[in-house]
Amino acid sequence: MTDSDRLITLLKGPDWYAHKAAKEMLMILNQGKRKRYKSMNSTADKHLSTIMDLFDKEQSVRILKTWLTTYSLPLDPDRLKTFDRFHEQFGKFITNNTELIKSY
């Protein structure tokens, strides 16, 4: 991600990024190619790593929740290379605050 992309993303905020990235992943899923899940997972990896770099804990969790609930994206932690990092950084926060996360 270039510095200007970074700045634009930060200015537009986490909600904008959540929807933009989700729509991109949905488009990949709807392409009908045989390897679309693989392609979606690599795109998800890219976005997941971006949100962890750019946004804080709560914003990152809210973005992933939007992908999973609003867009019902079939993200599989076993197929995401960045999920281990996400788990390490935010796992305890998520499992200790299930009620708070429901309200996001």
């Binding site: 929740k65 999973l68 609930t69 932690p77 999920f83 998520i94 499992t95 299930t98 996360i101």
Partner: protein, 131 residues
Amino acid sequence: MNITVYSRNRFYETFTKWDVPRDFADPMANYLVYGYEPGGFFTSLLANDFFAAIQSSHPANTVEALKCLVGWINDCMPPEAYSSYNRVSEWCRLPEGHRRAILEKYELIYTEQEEIMLTLRSESTVEPVLY
């Protein structure tokens, strides 16, 4: 060890399968999940010490409930956690991570990764009803 409501409900679901009453289920859950000492009666029971278990049993405990609990122990409890006094005390001393790994292996609770996904997906979960 901190478990989410999803894991807690999964754990208690195993008790409903065997009709284990709540008075018996709670000490078992606290023992397995948090490593709390289960008390005289349950310690003797888990250590296969029939005489000591009967001696320290509360008058309100019924044979019916005991049968259900023994069925649950045979079916669901990790072998690492029962069969001798030594194993019971070792289980209580186990580090949280080890206890968690064993409970995950026997599918009594979800893995942390599964818990994260269930929480983020806001999956619905129902608390099992014990009598």
